[in-house]
Symmetry: C2
Subunit: 178 residues, 2 copies
């Protein structure tokens, strides 16, 4: 497991069994996305040990740009707390957040972000940018990267391999008809 | 008017009277936000000369982190086109977008972003970051900054001055009661 920066004044040190438990819930969300042919990414928001928001990628299903897992989990958490400020909340997501979701995490004042797989092409936490630690913004987010990272990464690889296989089969079927 | 970078392959060159017309609609949206005590920021999405999405800041009203003007305008536009890809769409917003909204604009494949006032503390288009021109991402957005910028800026200044006045009056009232 690759550990990211552990900054800020978080008084709570969660041991691995606890953080892995929440990441497994995010993985369950991701698997739910895969069953409807969405890229398997899942997220949960935890407050005082309780999951108050959960979401998985539904961009294709609803044809909505913002419907990434993190955004949907944050929106559910805002409803639960009746507040757009999610202070003292932690977010667990299976893939490194993009720019949009990183911005939402900062805007929501999320305390600690745990993510699984890295996203070299679009990740804005450690890959392309380091948005969570930008001291010019009015909030910084603690980060733990690579939590169950291999499992999260494998899930994405399997999903895309299945898509390629399916497309290949469809192509072969089309050729045999002609 | 301060003009931003004009990149990309946009075949359409809109003259000022057209772009100002759409920015005035975004300003109307912003004024609607002010009437419900939200920070006056408004946005519209335009496709083929038609406004297909409009929104104003409703973060406080709904206690939802993502309910910035741009996000709501993008969501309405996605519904209108039944697509999360808003290609050939332009977005007009009264204030320079934050990180979250900039990410959404890029994710939505918005063609051209027009914004009014700069946001030195949180703007991610020219102030803190230059996200729209990041060649590592799979989409870049043309930018025109400062369109009716003075008017957009003045609207925000008036809003915050009124809030300060109101707070001062409430404090004076409180003191006269004691």
């Amino acid at each position: 497991m690759q550990l990211g920066n552990m900054k800020g004044n978080n008084p709570l040190t969660l041991d691995n069994s606890v953080t892995e438990k929440y990441m497994r819930l995010a993985i369950d969300e991701a698997r739910a996305a895969a069953t409807i042919d969405e890229v398997p990414i899942g997220a949960v928001v935890v407050h005082d040990g309780i999951v108050i928001g959960a979401g998985h990628n539904m961009r294709e299903e609803f044809q909505q740009t913002p419907y990434h897992a993190e955004m949907l989990a944050i929106m559910e958490a805002c409803d639960a707390l009746h507040s757009w400020r999610l202070e003292d909340c932690d977010l667990y997501v299976t893939l490194e957040p993009c720019i949009m979701c990183s911005g939402a995490i900062i805007n929501a004042r999320i305390r600690h972000l745990y993510y699984g797989a890295s996203d070299p092409k679009g990740g804005a936490v450690n890959s392309l940018y380091h948005l969570m630690e930008d001291s010019r913004l009015n909030h910084q987010v603690e980060v733990t990267a690579g939590l169950l990272g291999d499992e999260c990464s494998q899930m994405l690889k399997d999903f895309f391999r299945n898509i390629r296989r399916r497309r290949k089969l469809e192509k072969q079927k089309g050729q045999s008809k002609n």
